[in-house]
């Protein structure tokens, strides 16, 4: 890749940035350091036995570049864990690795035996070559009765869409239908990768409220990927700030005040958080994603 002045960047520049993290401690935020900062680099961290899914020491490299390093993550029953991070932070790669879609180069992932996952991928391009009604698409998740299908579609506010063709849906409608397919599996763990891409701000907040409500009703754990902490804040139990490694993690408030968060998203984003976390503001729509000019975070590796 090239820097703005046209010089070749060192291949592992992402790693060098990574090691710049974790200087400050604040509140009950856990610090995660890169391996060479760690006191016992080889100490084996045990899997969380009660977690739905538990990963330790994950490392992924593609084409000589480290995409993810030294990742520990646990998602417990009934817990909503949100992964945030800038473009190219490896959020999607992490989710895909946890789902078993992406081989890992190091580390281990343990799933609760018999774990049922519901997954809403980041990109969902409808293939117009396949004639498919909404309810038939949802039924691909699990052989469900017409009643169950109608019920789950109603749950996500897509009841009237049942007999529509998938190719006729708007972006927001499609998101709900993909969510319905994840829910119809009656999952223990719901994995949603930026479920609000292409949805307007009101729709975004509404969708997160819906996910929070369904979690309360059904008791599944949720792994949520977002590039914006503000909207997910109210619904998240725990936030993991990712930039190829775990920069900081904790309850949403503490992550929002953490210097690492400010560094990744720019001081503007951190200040805006303090001002606006009670009343949402139009500035944080999907187009206005804050990006720190001082840190070129590499190209989007989001696969």
């Amino acid at each position: 890749m090239r820097s703005p002045d046209g010089l070749e960047q060192p291949v592992q520049h992402g790693e060098q940035r990574v090691s710049a993290c974790a200087h400050d401690h604040a509140g009950h935020v856990h610090e995660h350091m890169h391996d060479h900062h760690r006191a016992h680099p080889n100490a084996q961290r045990e899997h969380n036995a009660t977690a739905l899914i538990s990963a330790r020491n994950l490392m992924l490299a593609r084409g000589g570049r480290t995409i993810l390093a030294d990742i520990d993550i646990d998602i417990s029953p009934r817990e909503i864990v949100t992964v945030i991070g800038p473009n190219g932070a490896g959020k999607t790669t992490l989710v895909r690795a946890l789902l078993g879609l992406e081989p890992v180069d190091q580390g281990s992932i343990r799933r609760k035996p018999g774990l049922v996952t519901g997954y809403a991928p980041q990109r969902f391009d409808v293939d117009r070559a396949i004639p498919l009604t909404v309810s038939r698409f949802v039924a691909l998740g699990r052989r469900a009765s017409p009643d169950e299908l109608a019920h789950v579609l109603k749950d996500v506010g897509a009841g009237p869409l049942a007999e529509r063709q998938l190719s006729e849906l708007s972006g927001g409608e499609l998101q709900r239908v993909v969510l319905a397919r994840a829910l119809v599996r009656t999952p223990d763990l719901l994995v949603l990768d930026e479920p609000v891409r292409g949805v307007d701000y009101a729709g975004e907040a509404e969708l997160y409220t819906l996910i929070g409500r369904l979690r309360t009703e059904r008791g599944f754990g949720v792994l949520l990927v977002s590039h914006d902490l503000h909207v997910v804040m109210a619904q998240s139990d725990r936030v993991i700030c990712l930039n190829r490694h775990v920069c900081c993690s904790g309850v949403p408030q503490s992550v929002a005040q953490h210097p690492e968060y400010a560094r990744l998203f720019g001081p503007q984003a951190a200040r805006a958080f303090g001002l606006y976390h009670h009343q949402h503001d139009h500035r944080h729509d999907l187009a206005g994603e804050p990006r720190p000019p001082a840190h070129g975070h590499g190209p989007d590796t989001g696969v």
């Binding site: 004639p131 691909l140 063709q165």
Partner: protein, 264 residues
Amino acid sequence: MPEPFLMRALLAGFGLAAVAAPLGCFVVWRRMAYFGEAVAQAALIGVALGLAFSLDLTASMLLVTLAVSGLLVVLGRQQAVPFDSLLGLLAHAALALGVIAASLVRGPQVDLMGFLFGDIFAINNADLRWIFLGGAVALAALVYIWRPLLSLAVHEDLAAAEGAATERTKLIFVIVLALVVAIAIKIVGALLTIAFLIMPAAAARPLAQTPEQMAIYAAVIGMVAVAAGLFMSLSFDTPGGPSIVLVLAALFAASIFPSVVRRR
């Protein structure tokens, strides 16, 4: 009662359409037209091998289509050359090799045109056995993998994350495709086989609301085209396989026309 050769031609065409059209839907949905094309053209190598070693020609074609499918699956994992370029390259290399090999084989004069464009009026009872037994096996296998294969075609990652047996399903699909291509060559020839797979599916698309409707409509369209193509062939003394494909193209145009007009 029509002539026996015409009966055999009709039976062969209908039998092939019943399995090739639903299979062709998946070829369309999974964007594997080039894959099928490469496999079909490579089948000519099977003709040469069969003649050289006095084997059943359909069996030797099946052997080659299976081997080439396996090779393509392995080559599909490399990323140095785009897969469609690779398929185009291999299809024509295989065609060249097949034509040269078939022309070098000693023995009875090979009707190369018959293998390139099919000779539906020369179908014999052994061919019919291949079409109906092979076709039944292929159709049964397709029904067996229908659900995971459809899920894969809609969104492969989602299917895999939901625990579908993606690799096994894809493998069975490729084997079924190799089998159907091998039995189709006698009827429509190495160059037109893929047309017989994808044209009924493409023509059925605008009419269908569900995947199963599309498969069934495609089979019906395929059979109509066989009947009309044979009629055309006998009436105007045109070659059988190309006549069927031309009727399919006309049916496709008629089916797609209203939606093209509506777009304006």
